[in-house]
Amino acid sequence: MVFATILENHMNRNFLFCLLFVLPLPAMALLNVTVIQGLDGEAEYGKQFSAQVKTVFSAVESVTDKNNIVVFSGNDVSRDKLLAHFDQLGKTLKPVDQLLVIMVGHGSYDGFEYKFNIPGPDLTGADLVNMLKVQTTKLQVIINTSSSSGALLDLLKGDGRTVITATRNGEERLATRFGTYFTNALEDSAADINKNNAVSLQEAFTYAERMSKDYFENQGQLATEHPVMSGDKATQFVLARTVTGATDTSDPELAQLLIKREQLDISIEQLQLRKDELPADDYLNQLQQLMIDMSLVQDSIDQKGQPAGEK
């Protein structure tokens, strides 16, 4: 389960390789997810927000235990409850754990302060800063799909945190479409660009950003929102798996095949890093051989009923 949330880049694959086969038992990292659904304002938005939260829940359920997912919606949402919740998380989560916060709703910005609209006092940008400041987890992702959410960028970015906002600043105040597209990405196989049966944060953002841009272009309208992502952990962070299936690690032959596939992944990435140095023909010949090897390994894995892609 833990490994589903990591790691697609070369360094981390090596790390995974070591964890799996060199170290006896690695410390188990935990992905904790908090979903906050704000006020709808209009019934239509209420339907949209509820649908988005439902999709998010279903998606993250594929990458973490549902006990690690907390949803605040309707009357459950209040500033005090949220502050208390994050205070508690700050005490219980470990540095190796991961924190994902997803905020769905309307936001506002008066030129000085961002506010996320919830029942009772709104949640301010300063509240969010304080809520995240007390967290010890190294890997934090915050996704805010509300209007004016871009006002949070400067406040929240840094400290290795990955921040996604639906708008590029606080001045983009109209209700956004980004949230719908972002959650669509979690269940649309087209979002899975690298076909590894998992949708990473990067893939979901790319998908939603494109859909949002296409929407305004197709409507012949000036875009009223420009999604932004800051931070560099997006490709590593898996939000959803589109194919689920447990690995039968008791089969030594399958384990060897998985190791072989992992090694091939590393070799492919290493070759891709050298692409510009190699003559084009050499590069393609080497790539072809690696891909043939990968395809043959996957054939063997398939015969054992293990899905392709995400490990």
Binding site: I193, K195, N197, G220, Q221, D265, I268, L284, M291, S295
Partner: protein, 762 residues
């Protein structure tokens, strides 16, 4: 589009800041002997003396209104504008100053501002004839038909100043020339000449208009040109004025010759350089056009037409120029040349080539005319760029324009509503290429448009006569024009919808010719127009009818064809409205009942709010798939092209195993909304299934060119089609590209193993 509009505003503002432009002949709205003396030197071609004279007025520190005229004459529009402003402040009740200020605004293309000033002048002096003339001029520049109303009273008022009456005659002469009423034009010019003689006013413009009439009749050595040159040998408007009439008559090559003469005798005639550049561009002479626009810009950097056109030319580096066939046979020119934006050419070029190639073949055969040059087709993703390319200024709602062998049109990307059938526009414009070129551009506008509309209906990509409801309403109100006056409905419409009504009338006239007399008569008419004959003569020669008799026959035809529909139009509108209301209420049985009744009355109505669409959705809601499909098919066959409806129909046909029809319907969407990854992917898949790998490959290549989100899949599909076509290198390249993005993509992995194993076995 928005940027261009912003640019225009900026340029207009800049233009008022500073500009160098010739001042039109001043016919005395401001009466000042000192100014008149300088003007007379200018009219007589004594340029340096005129400049010295104007400068001496400046040194005399005359009143602001006179100094404004002087600055204008010396080319300092900024200063002229400021001085007029000051003059108005100092003399708020002086109508004449506002008149002249308004005329300055006309020269800077700010017609509404000009009209406002003329209105203010008339409020101060209701009898000010120059203000009425100014209003008329501004309206004429905006191609509005109300202009004449202001002119006639001035002309008939013997107490009006001679300069105003002379201008009224000149403007009426211009309108008459535009309407090809040369007798009327001559009559007006004679009157103008008489007024000018009596009042001692300049006759240069009168001579230029007489020369225009001669030139339009083909008389190149007009005596009027000689007479004008004797008075002023460096007056470029002598040629620029006829040049204008040639270009609005779509005789661009002759316009080029005339503007060339204008700049030859007056090298600092920046407007003529600009018009020369624009007309060269219309003739696809891009390099020469650029040279002329640079000269115009050098002389007057603030003319918006010049700047807009230069900026447009700068964007040409973003366009691909593609010849088809790519390598024509020896001694043959390519059939077509496309200028398409680089972002769009991979998507559009094949569909455009297919349709244009078919059109050229069909038109060549039917009209018995073979193009003597390649047909040049330009498609612009930005509508305002296309309009600037057409007239130098943005802000006109047209879809296509043909200049001869070259036509330009809007790309579907600039029409987000998916209601723009770009294939039909291409077909329409292509017909103009034939009708213009086979008549040496002497075809009247109504007939050229009529044939293009007729071809849309009878041979275009969506066949069927499509008459908008507002035109039917005009038919009920009997707003069709007599054929001899039909051109006026295009050039100077007298009510909002008259242009579209005129298009439809012209199309119906051609349909009438075809149905009653046979298509050959249309070709005969074209041959007659090539001789320079007018419509009355051509109708007489080809059909043996007077235009009056023709109008009667046409009215009978319209009554026979549309009388029934027109009689029930109100009932149809009521049913249509009720269908829409029932649809909103999800009362499907009522939608079915009302829509079916509406379709029975007006089965040809296939716009996006057509009853067919409502009916199909009602059947879908009732889960009656067969009827839904039948309804959508009937809609599509009558020319309905709403992409979601077409997609639905194609998928229903596919599910019903009517795969060839499904393909045909899906393919037709390419001529409405081709920038759709799902469309091309589906087409590719269906074509592959139908063993049409070559066409499938083309569809997949289009997908790839659109840089879709799922790039790995796009490469994989190209690889798959290439593999089936035994194009191993291409297949390998795309497979590896797919796997490079998505190493675990199973279909690509499997194809890789298949292709490499196949190769090893070989």
């Amino acid at each position: 589009m928005k940027n261009s509009t912003g640019l225009l505003i900026l340029l207009v503002l800049m233009r008022l800041v500073s500009m160098v432009e010739a001042r039109p002949i001043h016919y005395g709205a401001i009466n000042d002997p000192g100014l008149l003396a300088c003007d007379q030197l200018d009219w007589n071609g004594k340029k340096q003396q005129a400049v010295d004279c104007y400068r001496s007025l400046q040194q005399q520190k005359r009143e602001p209104a006179i100094l404004a005229e002087v600055s204008w004459a010396l080319g300092d529009i900024k200063e002229a504008n400021t001085l007029f402003q000051t003059a108005v402040k100092l003399n708020p009740d002086d109508a004449a100053i506002r008149v002249r200020w308004g005329e300055l605004f006309i020269q800077t293309y700010q017609y509404q501002d000009a009209l406002d000033l003329f209105k203010e002048a008339l409020e101060r002096d209701p009898e000010n004839a120059y203000a009425r003339i100014g209003s008329a001029r501004a309206l004429i520049e905006r191609f509005e038909s109300d202009a004449v109303k202001s002119l006639q009273p001035v002309l008939e008022n013997n107490n009006a100043p001679a300069g105003a009456r002379l201008q009224a005659s000149l403007l009426l002469a211009r309108l008459a020339i535009e309407a090809t009423s040369s007798d009327e034009a001559v009559s007006q010019l004679q009157q103008a000449e008489s007024i000018a003689t009596q009042a001692g006013l300049p006759k240069l413009e009168i001579y230029a208009l007489y020369a225009t009439l001669d030139l339009l009749k083909g008389k190149k050595d007009s005596e009027w040109i000689k007479k004008a040159l004797e008075i002023n040998p460096v007056w470029g408007d002598l040629y620029a004025i006829p040049g204008y009439f040639f270009w609005i008559g779509r005789r661009y090559r002759e316009a080029i010759d005339l503007y060339s003469e204008a700049v030859r005798i007056q090298p600092d005639h920046w407007l003529a350089h600009m018009e020369l550049g624009i007309n060269l561009l219309r003739n696809n002479e891009v390099t020469r056009a650029r040279e002329q626009m640079h000269i115009a810009y050098h002389g007057d950097p603030y003319n918006p037409k010049t700047v807009n056109t230069l900026r447009l030319l700068d964007t040409f580096v973003d366009f691909d120029v593609l010849t088809r066939p790519e390598k024509p046979a020896a001694n043959l020119f390519p059939k077509m040349i496309f200028r398409l934006h680089k972002d769009e050419s991979p998507v559009l070029v094949d569909y455009a080539e297919q349709l244009a190639g078919k059109g050229i073949d069909e038109y060549s055969q039917r009209y018995q005319f073979t193009p003597k040059e390649p047909v040049v087709i330009e498609i612009y993703p930005n509508h305002e760029d296309f309009v600037v390319r057409t007239i130098g200024m943005p802000g006109v709602g047209i879809l296509g324009a043909t200049f001869g062998y070259l036509f330009a049109m809007d790309s579907p990307t600039d029409h987000a509503d998916n209601e723009y059938h770009w294939g039909t526009t291409l077909w329409h414009e292509l017909a103009h290429v034939f009708t213009l070129e086979m008549t040496d551009h002497l075809i009247p506008r109504w007939f050229s448009e009529g044939i293009s509309v007729y071809e849309e209906w009878r041979s275009g990509p969506i066949k069927g006569v499509r008459i908008p409801v507002n035109v039917l309403e005009a038919m009920v109100e009997r707003k069709f024009l007599p054929i001899a006056e039909l051109d006026g409905g295009f050039i100077r419409p007298s009510y909002d919808e008259q242009v579209i009504v005129s298009y439809m009338q012209a199309g119906l006239v051609c349909d009438f010719f075809d149905q009653k007399y046979g298509f050959g008569k249309i070709v005969d008419m074209l041959a007659q127009y090539k001789k320079g004959l007018d419509t009355s003569t051509v109708i007489g020669d080809v059909f043996g009818l007077s235009v009056t008799d023709f109008d009667k026959q046409f009215a009978t035809f319209v009554e026979q064809q549309y009388g029934e529909l027109l009689a029930h139009l109100d009932q149809w509108k009521k049913l249509q409205s009720e269908s829409i209301k029932a649809f909103a209420a999800e009362d499907w049985d009522s939608v079915i009942e009302k829509s079916e009744q509406a379709i029975r009355i007006f089965p040809e109505y296939v716009e996006s709010d057509s009853p067919y669409v409502l009916l199909a959705q009602a059947y879908a809601a009732n889960k009656n798939v067969d009827k839904e499909m039948d309804t959508l098919l009937a809609f599509w066959k009558r020319g309905g092209y709403v992409p979601p409806a077409s997609k639905k129909l194609a998928n229903l046909l596919y599910q019903a195993n009517r795969k060839n029809e499904a393909l045909e319907v899906m393919y037709s969407i390419n001529y409405v909304a081709p920038f759709d990854v799902e469309l091309h992917t589906t087409l590719g898949d269906w074509m592959l299934e139908a063993n049409r790998a070559e066409q499938a490959l083309r569809e997949y290549q289009v997908v790839l060119a659109m840089k879709p989100h799922d790039l790995a899949d796009a490469h994989y599909r190209v690889a798959r089609a290439s593999h089936l076509l035994a194009r191993d290198d291409e297949a390998r390249r795309h497979l590896l590209a797919a796997l490079e993005i998505a190493p675990h993509y199973r279909p690509a992995q499997k194809l890789l193993l298949e292709t490499t194993q196949t190769k090893q076995q070989q």
